[in-house]
Symmetry: C2
Subunit: 343 residues, 2 copies
DNA sequence: AGTTAGCACTCTAAACAATTGAGTGCTAAC
DNA sequence: GTTAGCACTCAATTGTTTAGAGTGCTAACT
């Protein structure tokens, strides 16, 4: 009916959510009065709870089972009730230590980051590696392998590397390859990679180049190496989900693990927060593909200087400890940004 | 007592294993006579089964539940009873298509391979990426990023790329970097990467080089970039395990997923087959860390020319369809070898 | 001697009923 | 507006029974 929440209503709802986060069980009127020093009788609380149910903040699995906060309740909680904890020194320390690692392979950094997210939050850590296209071109290099196979390596400003093996028709000498890369490095310097392709196409039109077979070849190879770049996702700590009591059931588990395998859906979801300023939260069925309707995601974008590179986050049950997770995600994103974008 | 297996014993054991593979249920004497056209009564079969149990090939979960083949039985089955199917055209086609992909990032190839292993076998696909150190040096390259950060890219003969971001103390110009990489490329050409480090150390001793600050710098950077290389593992299709009836239980599932997270153990296991000639099979608790005692692994090494690069395989329940899986693993290893090692 | 029919016995899984307890909604009194 | 009291509901637990599959053993059969 009326969506106006009295002060007491708010207080009781918060108590219920707290309890539910701790226990994963429906909360009854008794436990609300007992645990939280409310000077009210269970009966009164029952009345209020009835109202809250009416408003869509609570739902009961069945008549005699207590009540469970709905997604709507969690939304309210996250938006206005929640008091974010501050992250502990220890956690900061661990995040920094893990992410930084000592000299790591660049891909390793993302894997390690998602691992630390999962291990500190006790949920599932996820990192979307930068879309290569969102980067700025820095360097291209051709390496001759055995046969006619050529390895094309492309590097972005922030040090992300993409490499492809391409079958070349004609036999190119090492010298040719060096000249090709010099030419392209000049041509593409400082260009956003998303524009590299159009630039290449334009160049191919050029009269001068058309008569230089080598340059044409170079353009063609580099174009090929840009085809079908997939976004990489790093997910770690899936086992943590198994510890959550609400998923202690084979069917639900299957659902969830299937959800994790559908990378494209996850990417689509996280992509939506690319432009968000800081932490972003998706709750339960709010806006998900159906498979994830009991999960929530806390995300934050990471950036190198002004331009956003990717998104990272934590996936956990809807009743996760947001107060604890939010600062973890936030801080990790900051560290990763620092790591990639140091000017 | 006596480990000698009569002809009939062999036949019955095989029948039981077949049934068990299909149903995942204990097999009773009735079903053995019924399903397989044996001209014997259940009572006779019971006698034989009793003998087989004595010999350690069967075990009964409880008195009235039929019998289950032991790991020892599967070992026998795999070693001498099994008739390997031949791989279908369709499967060959799919493996080739998937692994080859059109122009893929090199790491992508491994991921895709493990994905195709899982999707065709319906179990879990696993690929151990080549230990970088097992490769032959081809090329090194330094790319300057913002700040004093330098990206070191090292490429092997077979096109495996390793890249590291290294904080450099002093400011190096692009020219410096080119000279450095020229020097190193000359120095290290054709060397096995496992020997690169010692070569570098030796070079650092050299009088001539010692007075050339740039070369010293180059050697130091390249040495750093070789530190702590981890082996990468690609595991795909973990959900498939959830479909196996024998794991339709939360506790067992946890066990298994924990096993999958312990990458180092998996690597240790697969590493043992590096030197195997072709397909290798690990059954159940035979030789595993305890977590995997209901799983088996079928592995095969893949190579580039003469030297083995890595191992791939399929992980499934002990009762997996070995006849089907073995040729899949074998063929996939061959395709991957071809893909990486084409001369 | 090897094979088989028959039968008593064992043990699980499924089905069913009874019990318990947490929780609710409603009403009447404070 | 708040609360005590009470009847009612429903899932989860426990105990009991039954059905069915399978075994082991013995005695008879070939």
């Amino acid at each position: 009916m009326n969506d106006f929440l009295t002060d007491r209503g708010r207080q009781i709802l918060e108590a219920i959510i707290d309890d539910y986060i701790r226990t994963a069980e429906p909360v009854g009127s008794r436990s609300v009065t007992r645990r939280h020093g409310l000077a009210l009788s269970p009966a009164t609380v029952r009345n209020v709870m009835s109202d809250l149910e009416e408003m869509g903040f609570l739902s009961s699995p069945h008549t005699s089972a207590g009540r469970v906060p709905t997604d709507k309740a969690f939304r309210l909680y996250v938006d206005s009730l929640l008091q974010v904890q501050s992250i502990t020194e220890d956690q900061q320390e661990e995040i920094r230590r893990q992410c930084r690692g000592r000299c790591m392979d660049v891909a390793e950094i993302f894997k390690e980051t998602s691992r630390v997210l999962s291990s500190i939050s006790h949920y599932v850590g996820i990192v979307i590696a930068p879309r290569f296209a969102a980067n700025v071109f820095r360097h291209i290099e051709f390496v001759k392998l055995c046969g006619n196979r050529i390895l094309v390596i492309m590097v972005s400003e922030s040090g992300i590397v993409q490499n492809r093996i391409i079958e070349s028709e004609d036999n190119l000498s090492n010298d040719d390859l060096v000249r090709m890369s010099n030419y392209l490095n000049d041509l593409l310097q400082g260009l956003p990679i998303s524009e590299v392709k159009t630039r290449i196409l334009r160049e191919m039109e050029d009269e001068k180049v058309r008569y230089d077979k080598l340059m044409t070849r170079a353009l063609k190879l580099s174009k090929e190496s840009l085809e079908g770049a997939e976004v990489e996702v790093f997910i770690e700590g899936q086992v943590n989900i198994l510890e959550q009591p609400e998923f202690a059931d084979v069917e639900k588990m299957k659902e969830i693990f299937h959800a994790f395998e559908e990378k494209s859906q996850l990417i689509a979801l996280l992509d939506r927060c690319m432009d968000a300023d800081r932490v972003n939260i998706f709750i339960g069925s709010e806006n998900f593909f159906s498979r994830m309707n009991r999960l929530s995601v806390v995300t934050a974008p990471y950036a190198s200087g002004p331009n956003t590179l990717g998104v990272l986050g934590v996936i956990g049950p809807t009743r996760m400890g947001y107060d604890r997770v939010i600062p973890i995600v936030d801080y990790t994103a900051r560290i990763l940004s620092e790591l990639l974008g140091r000017e």
